[in-house]
């Protein structure tokens, strides 16, 4: 579904990605692991066209997307739940969700209402706070809103950048449960995480990034069991 081949991305003169190759197949949850500054977020930005790769190609459903502006990539069916959530704090929860459905401009109103209902069923909290400003929500609620907003686009591929960041452990489990639910409902997911154990717990495969390169690639099960990998690359003890 998504394929990156030898992608090289620079920030100015700094090489952030140094030949990244990875693949996400239809229906999977794939996780991309790595420490700080390993290139995880840059990979996300490159997929979305927020930074342009200098070399290599990004393909989605068989077509190159690495030359497209971000809004065109999103329209093809890729949504992002960004790092630090980045909800629109001055808009109401409901307006934030409507912004998510923007790429489906022209979709009949009942369909949008149906999508809204789906989000509200996943996150009943958001229904209660529909008319509240996004900025007044707690961190966990904002994460729910960011996920809900991304789902409103009916993405075929959902990118999630550090969904557990800044959340209490109980909330982390809850968020990852919901990621699994979303996947079972038919959305393919690529999740970037520092919290390897939790992410591998729900993923089918995992890639480990270090210094802008994929250094390990295996099934989630194997990665979870391979203590030496976790120690070497993921900074765990």
């Amino acid at each position: 579904m998504l394929r990156l081949s030898d992608v090289v991305t620079y920030y100015g003169s700094l090489r952030a990605l140094n030949g990244v190759t990875l693949e996400v197949r239809q229906g999977e949850i794939v996780c991309l692991l790595g420490g700080n500054a390993s290139g995880k977020s840059t990979t996300m930005k490159t997929i979305l066209g927020m930074v342009r790769p200098r070399a290599g190609r990004v393909e989605f459903e068989g077509q190159r997307i690495d030359h497209l502006p971000t809004e065109a990539v999103v329209r093809r069916g890729i949504s992002l739940v960004p790092e630090a959530r980045r909800i629109f704090g001055r808009m109401t929860v409901w307006e934030n969700l409507l912004m998510g459905s923007l790429v489906r401009r022209g979709a009949p109103a009942p369909e949008v209402a149906q999508d809204l209902e789906r989000v509200y069923l996943l996150f009943p909290r958001l229904r209660e706070r529909a008319q509240q400003r996004g900025g007044t929500l707690s961190g966990g609620e904002q994460q729910m809103l960011a996920i809900g907003r991304a789902l409103m686009a009916r993405p075929r591929l959902l990118l999630m950048d550090e969904p557990s960041m800044g959340l209490a452990p109980a909330l982390v489990d809850q968020v990852f449960d919901i990621i699994q639910t979303i996947n079972r409902q038919g959305t393919t997911i690529l999740v970037v995480e520092q919290n390897a154990a939790v992410a591998l717990g729900i993923a089918s495969r995992g890639y480990v990034l270090q210094n802008g390169r994929i250094v390990v690639h295996d099934t989630a099960e194997t990665l979870l069991r391979a203590d030496h990998i976790r120690r070497a690359y993921l900074g765990e003890n």
Partner: protein, 312 residues
């Protein structure tokens, strides 16, 4: 006391003037909201709106149209001025600002380009229309005898029309910004441009549309000011633009309701200054307000709605 007799009159006039300032201020504040730049050419877009309205009225008079009545002439003037000014604003964005911000110029780049655009527009109008004043034949539309007694206040119909048109447009803009997809997209771009693109907003188009809307309102302001003061020239955008900019800063630049409020406050303060101090000090007081705002409350009256990056 004589002053107390003319005070209500002056207040009504201040309100009318204030709504028009607010209308022009919206152009500054909307553009600032999405692009963080002060469009110094906005006053000149307003001036060209005024010329367009004048052109419509003069043409109608020249061909001896019978039955000139404000009920259709004013909307026609406003319509043409707004479309023309709107397209001009969008054109400025496309050719004077976008090439700069796309190439990652500092924020100073578009700003200087705006000053250049301002000089260009002033000189273009001076060279094509002449440096002499143009006269709005307002009294053919609104005879001097059209006045209404409201309580103790005697106001001309023209002032009421000015205020009504300006308020109607602000209300319209409010509806667009709060209730429509376009409005939500504008707010999204203002709050977090990158995230707006991630949810699929065509950021460039939204910025161009914002320029169109703000400039169209400025053009409408030009027609109203022309109708009221009856004399316009190529330099009128300079002082009117500065006043409207003051209103935008006073209300909190980037904040749409702030621009409306700032305009009203400025209009009323000015009319009070004329009544109680000395008409000659009108501009001194207006710009003293700008300076005091910048010193003591740089975020303006409704400043809490400034973009987040500004607070950091």
């Amino acid at each position: 006391m004589e002053v107390l007799q003319i005070l209500p009159q002056q207040l009504v006039f201040g309100l009318a003037l204030g709504t028009v300032y607010g209308l022009i201020a919206l152009g500054y504040t909307m553009v600032y909201g999405v692009l963080f730049m002060i469009n110094f050419a906005h006053g000149d877009v307003f001036m060209i709106g005024s010329y367009l309205g004048w052109g419509v009225l003069a043409a109608l008079i020249n061909v001896h149209v019978v039955g000139l009545h404000p009920i259709w002439v004013v909307p026609l003037m406003l319509g043409i001025a707004m479309v023309g000014a709107g397209l001009l604003g969008a054109g400025l964005e496309r050719f004077a600002y976008r090439p700069l911000y796309l190439r990652g110029a500092t924020r100073l780049g578009p700003l200087i380009s705006a000053v250049g655009a301002s000089l260009f527009l002033q000189n273009a109008v001076m060279l094509t229309q002449g440096a002499r004043m143009k006269v709005y034949m307002t009294n053919l539309l609104f005879p001097r005898t059209w006045r209404i007694q409201v309580g103790r206040v005697n106001v001309s119909v023209l002032v009421l029309v000015m205020m009504g048109v300006a308020l109607l447009m602000m209300w319209g803009l409010h509806l667009v910004v709060q209730r429509t997809t376009l409005g939500r997209s504008i707010r999204a771009v203002a709050e977090d441009r990158e995230m707006a693109a991630i949810v699929g907003v065509n950021v460039r188009r939204v910025i161009a549309t914002t320029f169109f809307l703000g400039s169209a309102l400025g053009g409408a302001g030009g027609v109203l000011v022309g109708l009221y003061y009856t004399q316009i020239d190529f330099f009128m955008g300079y002082s009117a633009g500065l006043k409207a900019f003051t209103a935008a800063v006073l209300g909190g630049i980037g904040n749409i309701r702030g621009a409306m409020l700032g305009g009203l406050v400025l209009g009323i303060v000015e009319s009070l200054a004329v009544t109680f101090v000395n008409p000659a000090f009108k501009d001194v007081i207006a710009f003293a307000i700008l300076i005091l705002t910048l010193v003591f409350r740089p975020t303006g009256l409704l400043g809490e709605s400034l973009p987040d990056w500004e607070k950091v």
